[in-house]
């Protein structure tokens, strides 16, 4: 990510708390994410003024108000587009996008996939609570098929997106998933995202305790978690279960993955393989049911960022600078077929 212009005195989480009173429902998962992010920020070693949080609209999108950095609470779905303009013209900044499952995947879907395709240098945090929180509980593009909500009393008729599959289909270079309640893991993912050059797409499972409470209980509850949550560690065999007795394997000849008892031929995780087919297969392990849900960094590969290429084109062009801006302008105005009247 953009390197700091100057190295500041060590900051603390407190330095990243704004003076605004936080206004989420008591118990909302957003609080935990906010705390985790504020706690992580000092690690960046970037002066506050060089950090910008841009969000859309939604409960999640209130986020920037609570960060004592630069920030913009923009309009619904457009944060990636706005952030693209900022990041492209200000490579010295560290630009973060905070969005929700409706903001990013419903109204903002097009901007999201294009930002990922371009590999704009944005760290995109998608708070996925599988519901529209701010508008009081309609289903979202990540809600389970058949979900009964205010707008779908007979159950929703459309199958959800798998946000990671969608991102991978859109050529994302960094794709990860984490959980609001697991601060340590969340911060480890933020760390990896921050280090990634280009778009980093991070899905954060977030509990909306008012309109979709317990959506992720299966992988949060101490009793069930271990049997359903799969922690991906770079270079490590993918095993899970109370005693790591289960493993993710790659059946001979198959393109998908399977979960089996016994960690013998557990697949070794490597987020850096260039072919997205691997990360894609991983992303298919969990659907709406969360039965076997990998978290961690699915994919982390190098590809020149949009910002980088645009900057290079500017630098190359500026090599042709042959005078003061005013002089160059005069030259430009006077180019082409001109004639003079005395």
């Amino acid at each position: 990510m953009a390197s700091p212009t100057t190295v500041p005195p060590k900051l603390t989480a407190k330095d990243f708390k704004s003076d605004q009173e936080v206004r989420w429902c008591p118990g909302c998962g957003d609080y935990a994410i906010l705390a985790a992010v504020q706690g992580f920020m000092p690690e960046l070693n970037i002066p506050r003024e060089n950090i910008v949080f841009i969000s859309g609209i939604g409960c999640s999108s209130r986020f920037p108000y609570y960060m004592n950095t630069y920030g913009m609470h923009s309009i619904h779905g457009r944060a990636p587009a706005i952030a693209t303009g900022l990041s492209t013209t200000r490579p010295d900044l560290s630009v973060w996008v905070v969005t929700g499952d409706g903001d990013a995947l419903s109204i903002g879907g097009n901007h999201l996939i294009h930002a990922l395709r371009r590999n704009v240098n944005l760290k995109i945090l998608l708070f996925n609570n599988r519901i529209y929180g701010l508008t009081k509980g309609q289903y979202s593009p990540t809600s389970e098929l058949g979900k009964i909500t205010k707008s779908t009393p007979a159950g929703s008729a459309d199958s959800p997106f798998n946000p990671l599959s969608l991102a991978l289909g859109a050529e994302a270079t960094f794709v990860a998933r984490t959980i609001d309640s697991d601060r340590k893991h969340l911060q480890s993912v933020l760390r990896a995202a921050a280090e990634h050059e280009g778009s980093a797409f991070v899905e954060i499972y977030q509990n909306c305790n008012i309109f979709n409470d317990g959506a992720f209980e299966l992988i949060k509850d101490a009793g069930t978690r271990d049997d359903h949550l799969i922690r991906l560690e770079q270079g490590e065999p993918i095993t899970f279960g109370k005693d790591r007795q289960c493993a993710v394997v790659h059946p001979e000849g198959s393109f998908g993955l399977k979960v089996v008892e016994g960690s013998a031929n557990a697949l070794v995780h490597d987020a850096t393989v260039d072919d997205p087919a691997y990360a894609f297969a991983l992303s298919r392990l969990s659907g709406s049911d969360l039965n076997t849900t990998p978290i961690g960094v699915f994919r982390d590969v190098k590809r020149p960022s949009y910002d980088e290429i645009v900057q290079k084109q500017l630098v190359d062009a500026k090599a042709k600078v042959d005078g003061t801006p005013d002089e160059m302008l005069a030259g430009l105005l006077n180019s082409g077929d001109t004639w003079t009247i005395l």
Partner: protein, 620 residues
């Protein structure tokens, strides 16, 4: 050996000529017209041009929808329009003849490429009999010329492929016309060298075709007269012929240079605005970044994001694009950040007629957003004026921290005229002050504390230590910018947003009424300046007094406008819409402004306006 003796040709002086080159999309008429225009420019005539593209990329050859034309008007005095009716039509095929005949005045010259008047081609456009053979063209002076075959003949010993030889026929035509109107052609020969640098044989072929056309005029009987149009009396200085889109792009470059801010253009291609994107993308060495966004919403969003970061944020589009950008423009209004939105208007509603002109986006520019969402609106009056209008749009946006909509249209965007190049040093200094220090007590930064002069809020860009702050689309408390649901604050902020735009100082509107005896005022805006001006002149020359006022600033309106309008018995407002400016004038000043509307996709002709105005002047 006896020389061929060339009959000496009579040379006639003309004060003005309108020529229209018309042919198939594939015949290179735009290029031919461009070249003739340059030659004419060199000679110092005043010029105005109007291209006319088919809507399709390339409709089937020889069909009416496939006809492409270029009209050039040049004179020994200053002119205001590309001319109502061509004195000369160059018709490269039957379709070109049929599509343009109706526009010709009786007695006009028609130069036709007889080679193309085959049964098949005639049939394609529904000519039962060959119009060159019946009496249907009796009212005109027809010059039948076997353009294609003569061109091929002329290139016989250059052994270029027949296809290329045939292609050169437009240069033959150009040579002929250049001879007829005594144009200097050096620049054209040089141009051909540049254009075909990679294929010398084509340079030779096209130059030969040009020369062949020239000497054909000189030698054959078909053309007994040769014309001259003396240079126009124009202000001294260096000139360049320029289209509105090119001038607008250069104006934005100038705004970037003069404001010392990097220019960021977020754009999504759309006719007729795309050329601005194309032009600006060539000037990266000025530190300009152009981004072809995924759609218009992303384009304006990215421009706004760049503006937030301290760039000169611009987005260029046409009507349908502005319709999509409304919500984001509304955000820019709430954020009070500088932003320039260029709308090159085309005929609507919906997709309408993308290659035709119209002025029907004024309502949308003024009123097309939810809530009370005021912004500044300005419009250029001619192709070269697009340069200055772009600078003015940037000046207002940067000084007053507001979105500005610049309403160009297809007529000025693609039309061209000579442009007296400005001295860079004399261009306005647009440099801005970013906020650097906290502006509140105890070192607090108040992002919505206004400059009492401009009512603009501080522009504190990310990267400025100590000014970290958050902004957004929710209503903001005065000064602090914190989210506020306080009723009194909202009422205050709504009025403040209106007031700060209303308070932008704009120059008084000037009235052109040479004899100061007019009782009728014609009020226009944007691209109608030329035809209105020409009509007014014609009336005055005929002793009918009439005053003309033209608006560059549509919001806020000039402070003196009400007073000016009140000074006349009648105010007439010609518009290429159903009366959008007239509506505003009536509401604002309660005067019975009369609308005159033409919404045909074509600019007004001077004649149309002259007739209408004559009627008003005479019958009130």
């Amino acid at each position: 050996m006896a020389e061929v003796d060339v009959p000496a040709k009579r040379v006639e002086q003309l004060d003005r000529v309108v020529i229209r080159f018309a042919g198939d999309s594939g015949d290179g008429m735009q290029l031919t017209g461009d070249r003739f225009t340059s030659e004419t420019a060199q000679l110092g005539n005043d010029i105005s041009t109007l291209p006319n593209f088919p809507a399709e990329i390339r409709a089937p050859a020889g069909t009416l929808p496939g006809v492409s034309s270029f009209q050039v008007h040049f004179a020994d005095y200053d002119i205001l329009t590309p001319g109502d009716a061509p004195n000369v039509l160059v018709a490269m095929n039957p379709a070109a003849l049929k599509a343009n005949l109706a526009d010709l005045p009786p007695g006009a010259d028609i130069i036709v490429n007889t080679d193309e008047f085959t049964k098949r081609n005639l049939a394609k456009v529904g000519y039962a009999v060959n119009p060159l053979e019946d009496d249907s063209l009796d009212g005109y002076v027809v010059h039948p010329v076997a353009l294609t075959s003569m061109t091929i003949g002329a290139l016989a010993d250059l052994n270029v492929p027949k296809k290329d030889a045939e292609r050169a026929k437009n240069m033959f035509a150009l040579g002929l016309l250049s001879w007829m109107y005594s144009r200097p052609y050096e620049s054209t020969l040089r141009f051909l060298e540049r254009k075909f640098a990679k294929r010398p044989e084509l340079v030779a072929a096209n130059q030969a075709a040009f020369r062949a056309g020239w000497s054909f005029g000189e030698t054959t009987e078909t053309f007994s007269i040769r014309y001259e149009v003396k240079p126009a009396r124009m202000l001294p200085g260096t000139y360049r012929n320029i289209t509105g889109n090119a001038a607008l792009a250069l104006g934005l470059v100038a705004a970037s240079v003069r404001s010392k801010l990097p220019l960021f253009l977020g754009a999504y291609p759309i006719t007729p605005a795309s050329d601005i994107l194309h032009e600006l993308s060539k000037h990266k060495r000025f530190g300009i970044t152009t981004m072809q966004a995924e759609d218009e919403i992303a384009a304006v969003g990215a421009a706004l994001g760049a503006a937030y970061g301290g760039a000169l944020g611009v987005t260029t589009t046409s009507g349908p694009g502005v319709a999509l950008k409304g919500e984001t423009i509304s955000l820019a209004i709430a954020l009070e950040l500088p932003l320039v939105i260029v709308d090159v208007q085309r005929a609507g509603p919906s997709t309408g007629m993308p290659t035709k002109t119209e002025q029907a986006d004024l309502n949308m520019a003024l009123f097309g957003r939810h809530g009370e969402a005021p912004l500044a609106v300005i419009a250029p009056k001619s192709p070269s004026d697009c340069f200055h209008a772009a600078l003015e749009a940037a000046r207002i946006a940067l000084t007053y921290r507001t979105p500005v909509i610049l309403l160009s249209d297809n007529y000025v965007a693609n039309g061209s005229e000579p442009w007296l190049l400005p001295q860079v040093a004399e261009l306005p200094d647009l440099s801005v002050e970013f906020a650097r220090e906290p502006n509140g007590e105890d070192g607090r930064f108040l992002p919505y504390l206004r400059d009492p002069e401009t009512l603009a809020r501080p522009w504190a860009v990310p990267g400025t230590a100590g000014l970290e702050h958050r902004i957004g689309g929710l209503e903001k408390a005065d000064k602090t910018g914190d989210i506020s649901y306080d009723p009194a604050n909202h009422d205050f902020m709504v009025r403040m947003r209106a007031e700060r735009i209303e308070a932008i100082p704009v120059p008084d509107v000037e009235v052109e009424d040479p004899d100061e005896n007019a009782r009728i005022l014609v009020l226009g805006w944007g691209s109608t300046y030329g035809p209105i001006g020409a009509a007014c002149r014609a009336l005055r020359q005929r002793g009918l007094p009439i005053a003309q006022a033209h608006l560059r600033h549509l919001n806020p309106l000039p402070a003196n406008l009400g007073e000016v309008l009140a000074g006349y018995d009648k105010v007439v407002v010609p518009e290429m819409n159903l009366g959008q400016l007239a509506h505003v004038i009536r509401a604002r000043y309660l005067i019975d402004a009369v609308s005159f509307n033409q919404v045909s996709g074509l600019p007004f002709t001077a004649a149309t306006l002259e007739n209408m105005l004559e009627d008003v002047v005479k019958n009130g």
